[in-house]
Amino acid sequence: MKYDLPTKEGYFGDFGGRFVPEILIPVLEELEEAYNEAWADDTFREQFHHLLEEYVGRPTKLTYANRLTDHYGKAKIYLKREDLCHTGAHKINNAIGQILLAQRMGKDRIIAETGAGQHGVATATACAKFGVDCIVYMGAEDMERQKLNVERMRLLGTEVRPVTSGSQTLKDATNEAIRDWVTNVEDTFYIIGSVVGPHPYPKMVRNFHRVIGDETRRQLQEAEGRETPDHLLACVGGGSNAMGIFYPFIEDESVKMYGLEAAGLGADTDETAATLTIGQPGVLHGSMSYLLHNSEGQIQLAHSISAGLDYPGIGPEHSYLHDSKRVNYISITDDQAMEGVKLLSETEGIIPALETAHAVAYLDELMPKTSKDEIVVLNCSGRGDKDMGTISKNIDH
């Protein structure tokens, strides 16, 4: 099965595209051209991979989870340790890639949106490293919930602008970043934090993260003498860590893939972020994809215990992989995710991010169906330090 999406027009099947005001069309065309040129340029790639090595700390380890494996007594479980990246999650891969591109394009003003603050911190970090001005838009309510990350960004020299419009969360921060962008198109580069937004962002962000899957192939070959696992798991909000690890395996039909999205209090309740489980196609933030919206097409508020999954949309490529059934998307509740946090902490001494815990929680359902000669790889997308406040509020010891 050959896989070479998106199309030239930025489509993954029916999803993706470029649904933006006219002002952004020339900007996106310029960006696409610059990205394609850079990605084909060995010097750019070397620069990118050098920074991933020297600054981010790549390659991240592929850790054999022996006690977690024993816990289920079935397939061998490996963890791809994105939690070991500088700043504590995979997000920095993309921030570094995009800031290099911004430099190449001569854009010296960086803006970004953030929900939980992880992408904001990654962008602020990259901007500090490059000595570039950075403005991060963040919902006023999220700023209250994620005070520590606000402080981190400020310490890194970034201006955090509170967003008080709409629901004061990630989707509104994204709206506000786009408003800034259309106003300052000449000198501003918008670093989007996930595989969402208008073409070429979903493709570009995926490609900056594909290093996760590429490393996994090599590392699995070294550890097990085979490049591909039988089962591949990742959590999905916008879906960048998942696309990063899935993409290099899409053509390997023997690899079963699972995207774990946030059910919140339950996919059948109003307090959910299970976009693919219950959403309908629509257009938000510049691309066609599944969305949570009401019968009038008004976007609904998402809910998840994990701020990073708390988004009413999803990357268009995931919508395609869902419809084409290449990836199984399953929703995991807040309570299940909390169990996932405990399980990984107690068996492996790794406190996962609440996002990652959604993937861990799915092991309960998957593992009994596996056999001892199979291999499971779980993308450990981030560490849980940032979530300790939420975790301690919700845990039963």
């Binding site: 419009s165 106003t183 196609p281 009038e296």
Partner: protein, 270 residues
């Protein structure tokens, strides 16, 4: 091709002399659905030539604070696509003022493109402006719009290249919406609009040759309009109108204040 009996094309055909065509943007359901009907009917008697009726969306990413506010208010008060169609029908019982539905694509998609175009045409809508549908994505809407005789009006911006302006001019029906400044919708200080606008207007004149040209974004007074639209067929005002409604609603006589503002926009203070 746009039909000859379309109210927008008739408006531009009929129009002569130096007076500029004035189109106003009003959020459907703001300040309330009843008032929207009354305002549009009253506009006609106060010099307004055309109305762009905004279909509110929860995430209006190309709009400034004013239209964000009116959109949210309208949604909170329960505006729906069906009610928007009703507003148009009720205006149509009494008036032939050209009405364009303007808004983001998502509520249209959710309502169903076919149903939307059929219902809009039946209600008496004369055209569509969907700012997040650039010409490349027009396929999602154009067949049904064409089938129901609804012209789609496209936008050009200050950073649109000459070549692209010509493409947009070809695709657009009714007129071309010229966005005078980069940025979101909203009233601006005169200088801010004046500085770069002249070069843009020159490029529009050279490249948009098939369609009438309407200029919008940032216009808040008669003087702004006369200066910016000097070489255009007309001008569009949205945020400044909604700011005026917001200032006076619901005090006694608020509509008269709004109509006075509208007259001043068109004719200047007299």
């Amino acid at each position: 091709m746009i039909k000859t009996d379309n109210r927008i094309s008739q408006l531009f055909e009929r129009h002569e002399g130096s007076e500029k065509i004035m189109s106003l943007f009003l959020t459907a359901g703001y300040p309330d659905p009843e008032a929207t009907v009354d305002l549009i009917l009253g506009f006609e008697d106060n010099g307004v030539d055309m109305v762009e009726l905004g279909m509110p969306f929860s995430d209006p990413l190309a709009d400034g604070p004013t239209i964000q506010y009116s959109s949210n208010k309208a949604i909170e008060q329960g505006i729906t696509m069906a009610k928007i169609m009703e507003i148009v029908e009720r205006v149509r019982e009494k008036s032939d003022i050209p009405i364009i539905l303007m808004g983001y694509i998502n509520p249209v998609l959710r309502y169903g493109v076919e149903r939307f175009c059929q219902d809009a045409a039946k209600a008496g809508v004369d055209g569509l402006i969907i700012p997040d549908i650039p010409i490349e994505e027009s396929g999602i809407l154009s067949d049904q719009a064409e089938k129901n005789g609804l012209p789609i009006i496209y936008l050009v911006a200050p950073n649109t290249s000459d070549e692209r302006m010509r493409k947009i001019d070809k695709a657009s029906q009714g007129f071309v919406y010229c966005v005078s400044v980069t940025g979101v919708t909203g009233a601006r200080e005169g200088d801010e609009v004046a500085q770069s606008v002249q070069r843009f207007i020159e490029r529009v004149k050279a490249n948009v040759t098939h369609n009438p040209k309407m200029v919008g974004f940032g216009i808040k007074s008669h003087e702004d309009a006369q200066r910016i639209a000097a070489d255009m067929d007309g001008f569009i005002v949205g945020s400044a109108l909604i700011d005026t409604i917001r200032e006076h609603y619901p005090e006694q006589g608020w509509k008269d204040e709004v109509f006075a503002f509208v007259r001043d926009l068109k004719y200047g203070k007299r």
